[in-house]
Structures are given as C-alpha cells and as structure tokens.
Amino acid sequence: MFLALRELVFARGRFALMGSVVALIAVLVVLLSGLSVGLVNDGVSGLKKMPVSSFAFQEGVAKDSAFSRSIVTRDAVEKWSEQDGVDEAAPFGNTLVNARSDEGVEIDLALFGVETDSFLAPEAAEGSGLTDAPDGIVISETAAEEGIAIGDVIRLKPSETPLRVVGILDGQHTYGHVDIAYLPLKTWQEVRAGARPGETVPPRTYDEFTAVAVKDKPDAEVDVAAADKAAGTTSFTLEESFGASPGYTAETSTLQLIQGFLYAISALVVGAFFTVLVIQRRQELAVLRAMGASTGYLLRDSLLQSLVLLVVSAGIGVGIGLAGGAALASTPMPFSLEAGPIAVATVLLITLGLVGAAFAVLRVTRVDPLTALGGNR
C-alpha cells in the first residue's frame, strides 16, 4: 500500500481520468439495472404476485405466446387437482383489452379471470375483493394512479361491456406493460367470446379458459410429465411462464446483452490502462526489483491500487446513478431501483475490472531487474 497510495495521489490527474470512465460505466450499469427491473415489473409483476407454482397450458403451445393462444377445459383442472403433491388447481383466464372509463380515462387492461372462491381470488387493499356481482372488478394500484377510482364504471371496447371497480390491489400488478383487472371467470369467458351485454353465448364458452393455475403443496415434488400427460397439457413453472408475457424475453435479453457488454468494456478499459501504466513504469519497476522488492510485493501493490481505483470510482458512479435513477423513477418510464440487482451489478463491475487489471499487472513479473543497470533504456 505504501507505494500504491502515494502513486494514486501523485498521478491523480491520470487516475481521475481513468476513474471517471469507470464511474460513467457504473452510472450506466445502475440505470440499466433500474430499467431492467422496471421492465420486468411492468411485464410480469402481476404474475409474480400470484400464489401459483405453475401454469398448465394447452398441449404443445409455444411458450412465447402461451397466454394468448392456449385454451384448456375444466377436465384439465380436475386432472391436475388429483395429482400427488398438488395442493390446488384452478381455472385462469387472461386477455388484453382496451377500455374507457365513464370519466373518460382511456386505459389498456389485462383481464385476469378467476373463480371468486378459488385460491387465485385477489385480496384488495382498498374496497372489497371479487364478489358475487358478475361485473365487479379489482384493479392494480397503478391503474388507480391513472385516474380510475372505486365505483367507476369502465367499458370494454368494442363490446361496450360495463364493469364496475369494486377494489384496488396493493402495489403494482401489471402484465405485458398493462395494468391488471381481476374479474369473475364467468364474466371473463363472456368477454373473451366477444359477447355484447345481454347476448347469449354457446354453452362451451363456460368450459374454456387460458390455463390451469396450479399450486403445489409445500416441499412437494410433482411429477409434471405424468400430470401433463394425464391432463393433456403443457405446463410451465411460474418463472418459465414469464417468457410468455408479451415482449418479456426480447426486453430482458436486450438489456442483459448491453449490461454484459458494459462489464466486458470495463474489464478491457481497466486492463488497457494498467497495461500502459506498467509499460510506462518499466524502468521504475526494474529498479524496485533490483532493490529486492519481491514479485509478490509488486503484484500486491499494483492490484491494491486498481482495487482502490475501482471501488472509489464505482462508488461515485453508483451514487450518481442512484440520484439520477431517483429522478427517473418518478416519471412514467418503467424504472425501479432495487438494492439487490444494483449490488450484484456493482460487485460484478469491480470484479471484472480487477480481472482486467490482474492481466495487465502480471507483466511486472516479466520485468528484468537487470535493466535497472546501465543507461535509462
């Protein structure tokens, strides 16, 4: 540390330049992390908050469009609830619709149809949960923020089906960047069939829904393959089903790719900086080695120097990122700062930077102390 710290102070201009590059990368990493958490929340927060272990979809359905294409029947629910290790199974319906409230608020909704007495029935933070009233809906808090209140009537397009808001959920419940409205399964089935108010629908409409929502018993192992075979379904775990949310896979993989590139850039930039630094210090390092400094001493000293540089500049960058992020979080942008992902990203940034520095610093082992003698070559 003796030499490392004194050099940091002496060549502060040079190190500050390098540090600001790392800090800027850290700012970007924090913002990207906030953006990906925000997008994930926007995409699947409603699914995440369901007390569900897995969804059983129509057999052979493609994962990326499972929620929009799948149709299963009551049979499947019965078959699934008979399986060992399954606590409960219930029908679940999912459709995206456009709507407009009588107060004139335009809103897109993800309609989640559930049986009002099943384990899927939501608990409202305000108002009541789903009731016997066929037109009662419970909406996400984020929808309430758009200007929809309890007691409001919203009309779906184009059928003009009126629904009445009876409750508001706690926190953000969204699916595919759209606010969720829970409604009774029977009403959902009529909406999905495209029926106008008062129109009758074919009886089989009431037998069809999107998927079977399955809740496993705690610590139970369910033989998924056997259950799928018995029920004629293809099931995905809750996490796997996130991929069926519109745009989810594309968004998360794009952001992960960008973040991956940032880590690689940080490692390469830091590595390149220390490579140049070691080459520049060659004569000095030769002198130190001639004086009897061990290889370990020089490696430790240089690595500590890069660690101090990385930690300080990443710290500053994360600070700036958090401040900027707090400003962004109050805008409609899907942005959410969470300590976990940011900590992971920061540690990764520092670790990969150190790896880059380590490769560069290994060059000190190749400095020949003999070159300390003679002229300043």
Partner: protein
C-alpha cells in the same frame, strides 16, 4: 579484515550457439568492509556485467560469487531477491528514484519490502547525506546531485554489507561529482560498507581505495593514484 564479497574465476557468457559474447572472463575480485573499489573501463567492457553478478541480478556461467555467507550461484531467484533486499544497496545512474515519492519516502521505501532487522533512521540518514532540507520534495524538484544523494541514502537504509554503485557521476558536473564520490567514500569508511563503483570518470578515482580497469571482460588492478 576478511572480504565480504569474493568473486573467483567468474565467467559470464551472453547468447548461445555461434553468436556468444564473453562479458566477464575469469574475473576474480575481493572487497572488504569499509573499502571503496572503483572499476573503470570503456563502454561494453563488462563493467555493468560485473555489477549484475556481484548484485545477485544474474548468475555467472562459471566461477563462484560469495557475499557474506551466501553462495549466489546456488541461490533460488526468491533467495536472491531477499539477499538484494537485506544485504545489498544499489546506487543507480542519475538516482533512478521513484517519481511519486518524496525524498523521505524514497529512503523509507526499501523498509516496506519486508522486515529489516536493524534499519537506519531514514530522517537521520537523509540529514547525513545533506538532504534533510528537501525531505518533502519529489525527484522532479531536485537537481541531479540531490537525486544522487537521496539515492545513496536509499541504498544505505537497510545497513547493507555491500554497496554497488553504477556510474554515479554520469549526469553531474565536476564539483558535484567530487562531492558525490566523496560522500560515497565517507559512508563506506564510516559504516564499514564494502562498496564497488563503476565509473567513466577518472577525476574521482583519488577518493577510492583500489582501482581496477576492465577491458574486454578482463579485470586488471591499476596502481592507486596518489592520495
């Protein structure tokens, strides 16, 4: 007094195959504590090679090098680094100080490499070489002679048995050269250090106890100048 450094029939050959250069040709030399030995000779005569062999920076092709109780020819690189740290002090051309360090820290630097049993006090040593008034200056704020003084203090802080000095006056004017070599002689005599100095500068030889001339890798004693 028995010699602290003894080279016996040391030969150092660079390169391999047909293109070989004999840098040292059966060189024998003994230096006792408190002695300043000068080695003069033209460029490329093998003076630096002699310092490298005596300074545990390279092992000779044949012959033996003994420093105190150590046979440098049979020591591992790790042991050699330790011997350099504990027993040898180097004074390089134009000081070769670390740019980031103040004069005081330059002198403390060798003490950070590892445990030193009986170091000299850096501040005292800095005063002894006449640099205490510039203890907080960095090398770029010092003159050539001042840098050399700090370099000498740095080499002596671990109380080495052997002081190896590489062209200390290469970048200095006449008067400063006399001062620096005078300082080296005084330190060697007063602190019982065996010192070997390589130089081009014939004007400073009167400070030295013995003078050798190196020509084409061979070392010959020169009649000591009048003192």
């Amino acid at each position: 007094m028995s010699p602290i450094l003894s080279l016996t029939d040391v030969t150092l050959v660079h390169g391999d195959g047909e293109e070989t250069v004999t840098a040292l040709d059966k060189v024998s030399l003994e230096v006792s504590p408190g002695e300043l030995v000068a080695i003069v000779g033209p460029s490329g005569s093998g003076k630096s090679s002699l310092l490298a062999v005596a300074g545990a920076l390279t092992t000779p092709t044949s012959g033996t090098v003994r420093l105190a109780d150590h046979d440098l020819g049979t020591s591992s690189p790790r042991e050699l680094a330790r011997i350099r740290r504990d027993q040898i002090g180097f004074v390089f051309q134009s000081g070769n100080l670390v740019p980031a360090l103040t004069s005081y820290d330059q002198v403390r630097l060798p003490l950070t490499f590892g445990k030193v049993s009986d170091p000299r006090d850096p501040a005292e040593l800095l005063a002894e070489v006449g640099m205490d008034h510039k203890a907080k200056r960095r090398p770029h704020e010092l003159s050539g002679g001042e840098r050399q003084r700090v370099g000498i203090a740095r080499a002596l802080v671990t109380r080495p048995h052997l002081l190896l000095v590489d062209e200390p006056t290469a970048a200095l004017d006449r008067q400063r050269s006399q001062d620096i070599v005078g300082l080296l002689a005084r330190e060697a005599h007063e602190h019982d250090v065996a010192a070997v100095m390589v130089t081009h500068d014939h004007d400073v030889l009167h400070h030295c106890d013995r003078v050798y001339e190196m020509i084409d890798g061979r070392l010959n004693a020169v009649a000591t100048s009048t003192d």
